[in-house]
């Protein structure tokens, strides 16, 4: 006996079948032209048919209405006998007499037509009719049963065709008439005709007839443009809307110039008209080639932006999708949207609504606009960053991803924005997401937002950004698209803001140092390596990090990179010098080797504050390179080279090695550098190198130094004195051996053109804040302005007491630090 479930199992391809949910016309009474159906898997179609057939329970299959007690009884008997252990396959050999068999045969013959009718037209069966079944073997369906399915399908198809044909005929005959009526001068006639067309357009066959008639569509469009009464407009645009669900319809509308007419309707105050118009335009934009240009030319963009002020969320979703389609890849459209105040409206929508589809389409428009350099500042100024941040915790992945992409595009224009705390917190949270794209974007955005922005740096540190970034670097492994922005962000966080030291410590406490140093090795590419070098330099600012950095082998690797980069630059230079056509500077992966040289030497400079590190550096035989770098053209490189030598010269061995490399000559040259830092460090190194030289050498050196450091103050000294007073030398040469040359008495300059010794971090203009300002304070604590009070012993005799007089002649004027010496305020007549 065939059961319901068995028949389903014998269907073809029903694995993933679902009941059709769309308003597609189905066999239940609608018209069904397979050729026009939105393309479907043929198997699916069949499955749908089959499902429909089975749903309408036909008696044959379930056997439910089949009530042939005698036969069923026999069947039962047969089954029972079967169950009783008949092992024979195939026919059950029951014991029947010939008469009984003949009788059965006759009965079956007579009822054959009934069976066929039941198979093909189950709806025509009378209730309760008993039809004997010819099925002997429950496993084997009879021929009629097997043909039941296909014949039902055939039946439905024929029925549809008949109905369809009727409609098609109707439409074909009516259309020329309708066209004439639509073109009539009398508006009432036009109105009636339009209503008729609208009705016809709702049905499949007639819709096709309409679409296929170019004249009809043209007449509709004309009627639309000329219409001045609401009802006509409404039905006409409704008809066009119905047509727009099919390709021929779209083409016909487009060719009849429907787009300008529809765009005009976008100003309509009537909601239904508006909705029809925008939906039709949306379909055109989605599927009809050439619509985008036509909409743009008809001024559709401005109107659509104006429509953003409405408050129906589904409507807004369509409008924003239209805007996205129009703006994608078209600079002019983006500018028009900007000019129509688009960014503000879009940001407002993001802030005000919660309908996911709308938020998603809006974020896509913003994403498209965010690559336009004119739109970027407008979006940022309208609070776009904060609005996008609101949705970073949304459930919808596509929304979050689009917001992140947009934020990343905007982030380099948003470095001066306030109220970013929520955004930064969300981003730090997203660093732990499981989706790689999300993590990549979050790291990139954090890197941009922390660049040169103290407030953001502090916020990120406070919400645990350093820890999160270290964890991100750990889990990213070799994925440079994540590690590079993460390292850059850490680099920003570890310098130039009040909590920098906290960050430097936090990186160590999270065991970040080994994994960071590891990134200096292959397969890291140069951009990542450069970022890591800068980060190591910042981490080394914290003395507690010196040991871990050393133990991770940072120093040998840095020296290795330095040597490699240095050799590349030398090679480049010699190839240029020998007439090669090399470009200026050796590049690798877009990174100049000079930058690597500067970075590594800068990092070594800070690392060299610690004595063990210095020992290692000395042992790596890199001092010759440092000395070589003193001859470099680039001031920054000279400065860091002089700086690292300054640190190394603190130890006697270091000082000796430096001198042996012949550093004295270039250092003396550098005393005359116009760069304050370079001159300062050079002077310091020379002093340290001269520690155990004889006294007269020291004096000569100090005179030389004083001369060169004071050289630009000639205007001041000329008028008052012929030669440097001998006591000034006493200022420079130390009474005891140990002093900090820059902070002794005798400031190097009084001219306000000089920066003075307080040379602290003049690198705010560097967008990538890699280099910190000078600090020489390796042994002497932090730099500070310690112009000490003048020791009266040092004054030349005869000029005691009056600050005024003594200031005049011999001693360079000092900014007064204690108020005792200041007179009350007075003025003088001249």
């Amino acid at each position: 006996m065939l059961s319901h479930s068995e028949s389903e199992a014998s269907c073809v391809g029903t694995m993933s079948y679902q009941m059709p949910q769309q308003a597609r016309p189905l066999s239940q009474g609608g018209y069904h032209n397979p050729a026009d159906m939105p393309l479907q898997n043929p198997k699916e179609q069949i499955a749908m048919w089959q499902q429909n057939t089975y749903m309408s329970d036909s008696g044959i299959h379930s056997g439910a209405t089949t009530n042939a007690p005698s036969l069923s009884g026999k069947e039962e008997e047969m089954d029972a006998e079967w169950i009783e252990g008949q092992t024979q396959q195939g026919f059950n050999q029951a014991a029947f007499t010939t008469e009984q068999v003949d009788d059965m045969n006759q009965q079956l013959n007579q009822t054959r037509s009934q069976r066929v009718r039941a198979a093909m037209f189950p709806e025509t069966l009378d209730e309760g009719m008993e039809i004997p079944s010819t099925q002997f073997d429950p496993q084997q369906p009879t021929a009629v049963q097997r043909l039941a399915e296909p014949s039902q399908m055939l039946k439905h198809a024929v029925v549809n065709l008949i109905n369809y044909q009727d409609d098609a005929d109707l439409a074909t005959r009516a259309i020329p008439e309708l066209i004439k009526l639509l073109n009539d001068e009398d508006q009432v006639v036009v109105s009636q005709a339009a209503m008729m067309v609208h009705r016809l357009s709702k049905k499949e066959a007639s819709r096709h007839a309409i679409m296929n008639s170019q004249q009809m569509v043209a007449a509709l469009v004309r009627a639309l443009s000329n219409s001045n009464d609401l009802e006509t407009t409404r039905v006409t645009v409704g008809a066009l809307h119905n047509l727009s669900h099919h390709r021929q319809g779209l083409l016909a509308i487009f060719k009849s110039g429907g787009i300008p007419a529809l765009v005009k309707l976008l100003s309509s105050p009537v909601e239904s008209v508006l909705f029809y118009a925008i939906t039709t335009l949306h379909n055109l934009l989605l599927h009809q080639e050439g619509s985008k240009t036509a909409v743009r030319m008809a001024g559709g963009l401005q109107k659509m932006v104006a429509l953003l002020q409405r408050n129906n969320v589904k409507f807004l979703a369509i409008v924003t999708d239209c805007l996205q389609i129009l703006a994608y890849g078209n600079q002019e459209s983006k500018l028009i949207i900007l000019a129509s105040q688009g960014p503000q409206e879009l940001v407002r929508i993001l802030r005000s609504y919660t309908y996911e589809k709308l938020l998603w389409t809006t974020s896509r428009v913003l994403k498209v606009l965010s690559v336009c350099s004119s739109n970027k500042p407008a979006i940022v100024e309208s609070g776009g960053m904060q609005a996008l941040a609101m949705h970073l915790t949304h459930q919808s992945t596509r929304l979050v991803q689009n917001c992140l992409w947009t934020l990343r595009n905007l982030s380099d224009a948003a470095t001066k924005v306030d109220n970013m705390d929520q955004l930064l917190q969300n981003l730090v949270h997203l660093l732990r997401a499981s989706d790689i794209n999300v993590v990549t974007c979050a790291a990139g955005i954090l890197s941009n937002l922390t660049c040169n922005n103290q407030r953001n740096k502090i916020t990120v540190c406070q919400v645990g950004g350093v820890e999160a970034l270290v964890a991100t670097i750990y889990s990213a492994g070799e994925r440079e698209e994540i590690t590079e922005p993460a390292v850059c962000a850490l680099r920003h966080l570890t310098a130039r803001h009040p909590d920098a030291e906290v960050a430097q410590n936090a990186a160590r406490l999270k065991n970040g140092i080994p994994v960071i140093v590891n990134l200096l090795h292959p397969p890291s590419r140069w951009p990542l390596v450069k970022a890591v070098i800068g980060l190591i330099r910042n981490l080394a600012l914290c003395s507690a990090n010196h040991a871990p950095l050393r133990e991770s082998g940072a120093i040998p690797r840095l020296v290795q990179l330095l040597i490699r980069a240095f050799q590349d630059t030398q090679r480049q230079r010699s190839s240029v010098a020998s007439g090669g056509s090399g470009s200026i500077g050796a590049y690798a992966d877009g990174v100049r080797m000079e930058e690597i040289v500067e970075g590594t030497v800068g990092a070594l400079h800070i690392l060299a504050r610690e004595s063990h590190n210095r020992a290692i550096i000395r042992g790596l035989n890199v001092i010759p390179i440092f000395v070589q770098l003193l001859y470099n053209d680039i001031e920054n490189i000279e400065r860091v080279a002089a700086g690292v030598l300054c640190e190394l010269a603190a130890d006697k061995e270091g000082a000796e090695m430096i001198e042996q490399e012949g550093a004295t000559a270039p250092l003396t040259e550098l005393l005359h550098s116009r760069n304050e830092g370079v001159a300062t460090y050079a002077a310091a190194v020379l002093f340290r190198m001269s520690e155990d030289k004889p006294q007269d050498y020291k004096k000569r050196l100090s005179m030389e130094l004083t001369n060169s450091l004071f050289r630009e103050d000639g205007s001041m000294w000329q008028g008052d004195m012929a030669a440097m007073p001998p006591d000034l030398q006493d200022f420079i040469a130390p009474p005891e051996g140990h002093y900090d040359p820059m902070y002794a008495q005798g400031p190097p300059s009084v001219h306000s053109g000089h920066a003075g010794p307080n040379y602290q971090g003049g690198y705010d203009h560097v967008p990538v804040d890699s280099m910190q300002g000078l600090d020489i304070g390796s042994q002497h604590g932090g730099p500070g302005s310690n112009y000490g009070p003048i020791d009266p012993r040092d004054l030349p005799p005869g000029h005691q007491g009056h600050p005024d007089l003594t200031f005049d002649q011999q001693i360079p004027p000092q900014p007064p630090r204690d108020n005792n010496q200041m007179a009350a305020w007075y003025d003088t007549d001249l």
Binding site: V750, A755, P815, A824, L830
Partner: protein, 123 residues
């Protein structure tokens, strides 16, 4: 580098706009009958003075013009009250004592001054 010319810390680098003024002193007779060259203005300030005590409310230790006599050479040259003198004949006036400034001004018959003026060179 700071561009705040009126809150300048002496000894630090500064960059600002300035007005050049050429002042030719006129001869006159002082109370003792001697020939003197007169400029016609008063200066106040200097690094040895406390600007907080200035009645005019100056905000740093620079040299300021506290008065310009009517019809004098200074007035004709375009000097105005409360101008801050940045430079005189090439000599830097942002870090000088009061006496020094006076000496320098008295020294030469023609003064080439660079001044900063609120509302003109700075807002």
């Amino acid at each position: 580098m700071t561009t705040a010319a009126f809150s300048h810390e002496p000894g630090t680098a500064m960059e600002c706009l300035s007005i050049p003024i050429t002042l030719e002193k006129e001869s006159g007779i002082d109370e003792n009958g001697r020939q003197v060259l007169r400029c016609g203005f008063r200066i106040g300030g200097g690094i040895d003075q406390d600007f907080m005590k200035s009645p005019q409310g100056y905000t740093d230790n620079g040299i300021y013009c506290t008065e310009v006599h009517e019809g004098s050479a200074a007035a004709r040259a375009g000097l105005r009250v409360h101008d801050k003198i940045l430079q005189c004949n090439g000599y830097d006036f942002t870090m000088v004592t009061h006496k020094k400034a006076v000496d320098y001004i008295r020294k030469h018959p023609v003064l080439n001054l660079l001044v900063a003026r609120r509302g003109v060179t700075h807002s």
